[in-house]
């Protein structure tokens, strides 16, 4: 016992019911949707916005045209799916990784630096190396809180948040120092050359191959978690670390550590894909909080990869819609965070209500 004040099992991860009684769950889900929509309408009205105009802008920006779908919604969904998957894997293993944002930024910085350094000699190979570097950097950024948790019992909620701020300032330093563009005027890196960029998936849109990568990541994560021994170990450890430890044959700290690193790796790749597919450069506000939104993505997706894919697209639509809402109705962009918070709160409350009902029906039956 290393004696840190934070015991890793003080915070049971959120768990989804696997075989819900369909109607009851639907009722709870509808109540949740109502709760989110009503609170949102209230905030908009209080802010003096016309709910109808804002709502129409939201829908138009999210799905109003092929362009909205393929150049806005799905493009924004790519980092959200990857980072959401990162958070889902961590949460499944009982790790509260709130640090996807920092891991994403670390990945973006590493991808930029690698692509810029290697493109002259490697050409297209620099793309692959950049993406690899982003995964390694994301994993490295997660390794610090993972080690602090294992060695000193430091609560990862706090340590990953600290790593987020450190990443933010590190990017700030890089784009004003070693990675600044040649004229040294703007706080951003040089643009990475054509050869090191992700090709477009659909010509005429902004949808890039990163979307296909995200789909592959979802499929692999789903297969590993559901159908392999490694995935089973992660789920067992996440369900109850103490039970997993006393069952023996299971190195709980090692499983936790590995899941944490994989989580960081995925979040890092999200940053790398964003640089190679969308921004083509590193700068301060590269991520509008994708790493935080990823928490909502993972929870709404019930921590299950296929649903994380769907909820990633949903939140991509929300972000795209919010951008349109700001353009056309003047609604501040940060409202998205309020929506995310409401959705998370609705989910945790719904789970509690569901669990209580089930408990009552079990007792009534017995």
């Amino acid at each position: 016992m290393t004696g840190g004040p934070w015991h890793s099992d003080t915070a049971p991860p959120v768990r989804m019911t696997r075989t819900p009684q369909a109607w009851r769950s639907l009722g709870i889900a509808l109540t949740g949707v109502l709760f989110v929509s009503a609170t949102l309408a209230l905030v908009l009205t209080a802010g003096g916005f016309d709910v109808g105009t804002a709502g129409a802008a939201l829908l138009r920006g999210a799905a109003g045209s092929p362009d909205a779908v393929f150049s806005a919604t799905l493009v924004r969904a790519v980092p959200l799916i990857l980072a959401g998957l990162a958070v889902a894997i961590a949460f499944q293993a009982g790790i509260l990784n709130i640090g996807a944002e920092g891991q994403l930024l670390a990945g973006a910085a590493a991808a930029t630096a690698t692509a810029l350094a290697l493109e002259p000699s490697l050409g297209r190979g620099a793309l692959v190396m950049g993406l690899l570097a982003s995964g390694i950097a994301g994993g490295a950024w997660a390794a610090v809180p993972a080690w602090l948790r294992r060695r000193f019992g430091v609560l990862e909620v706090i340590s990953t948040i600290m790593m987020n701020f450190i990443a933010l300032y590190a990017v700030g330093f890089l784009v004003r120092g070693p990675l600044q563009e040649a004229s040294r005027i703007y706080p951003q890196s040089p643009t990475i050359p054509e050869a090191a960029r992700l090709p477009l998936l659909l010509p005429g849109t902004r949808l890039h191959v990163g979307f296909a990568l995200a789909l592959v990541a979802v499929a692999i994560a789903w297969y590993v978690l559901r159908h392999t021994a490694a995935g089973f170990r992660v789920r067992v450890v996440g369900a109850s670390p103490s039970a997993a430890a006393s069952a023996g044959r299971l190195n709980v700290p090692a499983v936790t550590m590995r899941a944490f690193l994989v989580s960081g790796l995925l979040a890092g790749v999200a940053g790398g894909v964003e640089v190679h597919g969308v921004t083509y450069a590193l700068y301060d506000n590269l991520s509008p909080g994708y790493g935080y939104t990823a928490i909502a993505v993972a929870l709404l997706g019930g921590l299950q990869p296929p649903y994380v894919l769907a909820s990633g697209i949903f939140f991509g639509a929300l972000e795209a819609g919010a951008a349109a809402m700001q353009r056309d109705a003047g609604v501040p962009l940060m409202l998205v965070w309020v929506i995310e918070a409401l959705i998370i709160l609705a989910i945790v409350a719904g789970q509690v209500v569901n669990a209580r009902r089930r408990l009552m029906s079990v007792e009534a039956g017995a």
Partner: protein, 306 residues
Amino acid sequence: MNDVVTPFLEATVRTATPLALAALGETLGQKAGVINVGLEGVIIAGSLGAVVAAGAGGVTIGLLGAGLAGLLTALVFGVFVLWLRTDQIITGTALTLGALGLTSTLYHTVYGAGGAALSIPTLRPVALPGLSFIPVVGPALFHQPVVTYLAYLVAGVMWWFFYRTHAGLALRAVGERPEAAQTAGIDPRRIQWLAVMASGVLGGLAGGSLVLAQVGTFTDGMSAGRGFIAIAIVALGRWHPFGVLGAACLFGVASALQFLFQSTGSSLPYQLFLALPYVLTLVMLAGGTRGARAPAALAQRALTLR
């Protein structure tokens, strides 16, 4: 020598004040078994409350507004965590996200898209007669805005409350063994509600002091992780009011270093100093909390005997 050391110590105590207030509030909640990771959200709500209220009615009203905003944010947390019994950490994370988003949205909605820099009245330092004339440390400790004295007072009162009153004993019992406390005729739910509400007021005041005694205006996300640093300070201060006060000062040093190096024209990149408090938090959590023990029932969801 004094013209370097004294301003440095003065900046230390000034930047430590919001951290101390927030961490003392969090200590109260954690002693009752509730960890509020949404403290960051409580602080930013307090900051906006302070700006709005101080703009309307001066600094005193500003502090009241900050406390009230913190209280309301804690009320939301309480409804989910204490009434519905949702997971404390996930709920707190959502609260932080929501409060950061809502304060930014409201601020830009009310004060225009650019968020026009408001000029609001701020708290001036008040010298405590006699004490402020102590060489070197006197001005640093006793020539401060009134919120700093409030932090000293809260720490003292909290120590007395925890270790010298029956109510304080009851609160600590709830944080350690809620079932046992319940058997002894204590209502854990009521105690946790009171602790969360009081800690909300203190968190709000922390946000208020950030605005009224330090920055002088509101900016998006100005709490900048202070809520999370404050949670680390609670562990570092070993859940003891005076320990927490001391730990907060340590973090004040990290921020004050920033001003010191800027004034000496150091060639080191300034992002290094901006990142220092966060790095320090990690180092301190790793090295400084050995042997410390959190309240046993911290973050426990099931509370009462069935």
